[in-house]
Symmetry: C2
Subunit: 267 residues, 2 copies
Amino acid sequence: MFEEPFGEAWRLRYGSDAPDDSGVAARFVAHRSVREYSDRPLSEATVSGLVAAAQSAATSSNLQLWSVVSVQDPEQRTAIARLCADQDQVHKAPWFFCFMIDHNRLRRAAAMVGEECKGLDYNEFYTMAVIDASLAAERMVCAAEAMGIGICYIGALRNDPSGVASLLDLPAGVFGAFGLCLGYPSEDAKAEIKPRLPQSAVWFRERYDRAASFGDYDDRMKGFYESQGMKGDVNWSMRSGRRVDEHHLTGREVLKEFLEGRGFLKR
Amino acid sequence: MFEEPFGEAWRLRYGSDAPDDSGVAARFVAHRSVREYSDRPLSEATVSGLVAAAQSAATSSNLQLWSVVSVQDPEQRTAIARLCADQDQVHKAPWFFCFMIDHNRLRRAAAMVGEECKGLDYNEFYTMAVIDASLAAERMVCAAEAMGIGICYIGALRNDPSGVASLLDLPAGVFGAFGLCLGYPSEDAKAEIKPRLPQSAVWFRERYDRAASFGDYDDRMKGFYESQGMKGDVNWSMRSGRRVDEHHLTGREVLKEFLEGRGFLKR
């Protein structure tokens, strides 16, 4: 399932014709979040292969500032799903991974050889770890999708960072950055390719373009929302602006304080 | 080139035998940074297809909190390379992209419909944007590598964040997070698959393991460094600990102050 050719995936993203012969494989443009899974299991060998893909992503200076916890025990899975806004796909996904930024492992290794790693106090090493964890996750995702496995990222892992740290026994220097559901899609999974901003609004040449037009994106998203049964005369700008109101942070307003308390972002 | 079968790529990563039949494509495990490129050009259609792949990565709530600037003009390329520690591959890569986290575009769009986006002041929306930009980049990378294109991330884009902002005319709310070189590898490119930590040190089950062993990783990396002609009796723990000394931040110690001055991480 989900095997649109490149031109069709492009049209769904941009509402226009694809360039000829880009050479890019269609599946990289055909990503969508999959939230309903079949009973088909993912073998341990497959999951181990996917972890190898994740570990094969680039990592700054080979520091490997991330870790992952898979949560498969039913009781533990229920508990983590409750911390993630009780999202159905977290309860039901064949595999659920918590991707963490991890300064603890390097600090342990370095302490054994008498190095202090004082740099980890700086924003630079928070940012670097978030990049490391994200590159690893997305390489795992691309490898999974190439096998027909569906995925859904779970930002709600950040809704209750203290609860997650407690449940997963995370030491200082480790932070659950996002979750990832993995599983083969169910036969009737609803999962659409979502329109994106025109390339001219995202990809600039030589310098940033402060006046870049968003083209017809608000109209295209209005049509997409309607096709999904969402009511009201809402477009992307309105919906996104409201989503980023400070009253909709769903617990994540504590993140700065939480992270500083865990040893990140001191300087 | 660079077409090791899965088992061989696995052995280079972990020094052990791969599980049978993971089903994961070898190229996801065979990633390495490529710093030497052939003259074979990447067409505009290919690059546009790769940008489409990047835009097709998951993005929190479809907010698309990232942008990219390609730097191809020779004078501009020289200037950006100088800001990136004068790295040879930035000077010479057929394409060079600056990946940026971008709150500015959403703020502009929302302002047009009377929304304020006050949530963007919070750490949550810094972290979310770094994740968005990184997922986008790594999907571009996986799509490129599937075509035989080589890549190299450039963390040194953060060495002089003010210089980069000035050169690329970045407004408040936009930060150059990392660079990305793209090009077909030269015939004689030196690019090795680098050993990684054992899976048992990175992938935990149900809960974090504070006592996880690093196995023989220090020994394997000592061997790797020697094979690369690096002198001295150094292993991963020693090398990484020194790399994260606070005296080796190469300009990035200003990142917290810089980002706060650009409107990020206020709360």
